[in-house]
Symmetry: C2
DNA sequence: ACAATACGTCAGCTTTGTTGACACTCCAAG
DNA sequence: CTTGGAGTGTCAACAAAGCTGACGTATTGT
C-alpha cells in the first residue's frame, strides 16, 4: 500500500479517508432523498414514481424504452409505476405519431404540479448545501461524482446534460 | 427567485445547475453501489447485508440497538439480515459482558474476508474517482456532502468519524 | 416486587425489483 | 401481398427488503 500517508498530498487516498468518503456518500444520499420521500409517503407513491416523473419532466415525449434505459430497471418495474401515474392523471401516454408501437410520455398539469413540489424540496436542500459549501466545493463535488459514475451511467448523465439546457 | 444567474458567481445556484447536481448524485450513487451489488448478487445477499457488515466492521462490538440507530431501519428489518449473517457464520453475536441483555456484534474471519472483498471494490472506485478529481475536488466533495446530510445523519456520521481513525 | 430496557420473533403489508409469456405494430424478404 | 422476425408495451406471479404493531423473554435497576 503506497498511500499510507507517505506523501502529504496523497492523504486523501488513505484507506481511512476513502472509508470516510464512502460513509459520507451513504449518509448524504439519505439526506438527499429524505425530503421527497416525506412528500411521497403522504400519497401512495414511492421513490420510483419520483424518478419517473423527474425524467419525464426532463425529456418530455420520451418513450418507455428510453426511460427504461435511463433508469436501468426492467419493463415491468417501470410499467407498474407508470400505470398508476397514468391512471392518476399525472402522466399522459400518447401513441407515437410516426411509429405507433411507441408511447410518448408527457406530464399533465397535475404531474407538473407534483414534480414542482418534489423538485422544490430537493432543490432547496441542494441549494442550501451548495451555498454553504461555496462554488469551488461545488465544482469539486461535481468532478468527483462524475468520476464515480461508471461508463454507462456517465453516458446517460451527459446525454441528459446535452439535450437539456 | 433572485438566483437566475443575475450574479456570475452564483451561477452554480441556478435551477438548471441544481438539477444537474441532483442527477449527478443519482447516477453517481448507482455507480457507488454497483461493484458491491455485483458481488453480493452472486451470494444470497443484498445491500442490506453489506450495510450491516460495513458498520460492524467500523464499530466492532456494537450493540443491535446502536446499529439500528445508525442504519435508521426497524428491528425486524435488521434482524432478518442479521440472523442470516449469524447463521452463515459471518457475524458473531456475543452476550454483553457487563449487561447481559445486550448482544455485541463482531465479524468472524469469514465476515472479515467478505467485508474486505466488498470494501476493496468500493474503495477502488472511490480511490480512482478521488485520484481523477484531485485533492481540492475531494475536499469540495466532502464539504457538499456534509452540508447535504440532515442533522440526524450528520450526527451519526461525525460520531463514527470521531470514534474511528 | 415491579417497571423499564434490550433483544428476538410473529403476522401481515408495501414498494420495487425480477423473469417469463403474450399482444400489437412495423418492416423487409420472399 | 403475405408472412415472419424484431421491436414495443402489458400482464401475472414471485422475491428482497423495507414498514407497523404486538408480544415473549431475559436482565437490570429502583
Amino acid at each position: 500500500m503506497p498511500e499510507t500517508s507517505s506523501s502529504e498530498s496523497l492523504l486523501y487516498l488513505t484507506d481511512e479517508q476513502l472509508r470516510q468518503g464512502i460513509e459520507a456518500m451513504y449518509f448524504a444520499y439519505r439526506g438527499f432523498t429524505a425530503d421527497p420521500d416525506r412528500i411521497l409517503a403522504t400519497m401512495a407513491y414511492g421513490r420510483a414514481h419520483h424518478r419517473a416523473i423527474h425524467f419525464v419532466k426532463r425529456a418530455p415525449g420520451t418513450t418507455v424504452t428510453n426511460l427504461l434505459e435511463i433508469l436501468g430497471v426492467t419493463k415491468q418495474s417501470l410499467n407498474r409505476v407508470l400505470r398508476t401515474l397514468i391512471e392518476d392523471g399525472l402522466i399522459e401516454s400518447r401513441v407515437g405519431p410516426t411509429d405507433r408501437r411507441e408511447r410518448n410520455l408527457f406530464l399533465t398539469e397535475a404531474g407538473e404540479a407534483l414534480e414542482n413540489r418534489l423538485s422544490d424540496a430537493q432543490r432547496a436542500r441542494m441549494r442550501s448545501a451548495f451555498r454553504d459549501a461555496g462554488p469551488e466545493a461545488v465544482a469539486g463535488f461535481r468532478r468527483v461524482l462524475e468520476a464515480m459514475m461508471d461508463g454507462e451511467m456517465k453516458r446517460r448523465y451527459t446525454g441528459l446534460r446535452e439535450s437539456g439546457s
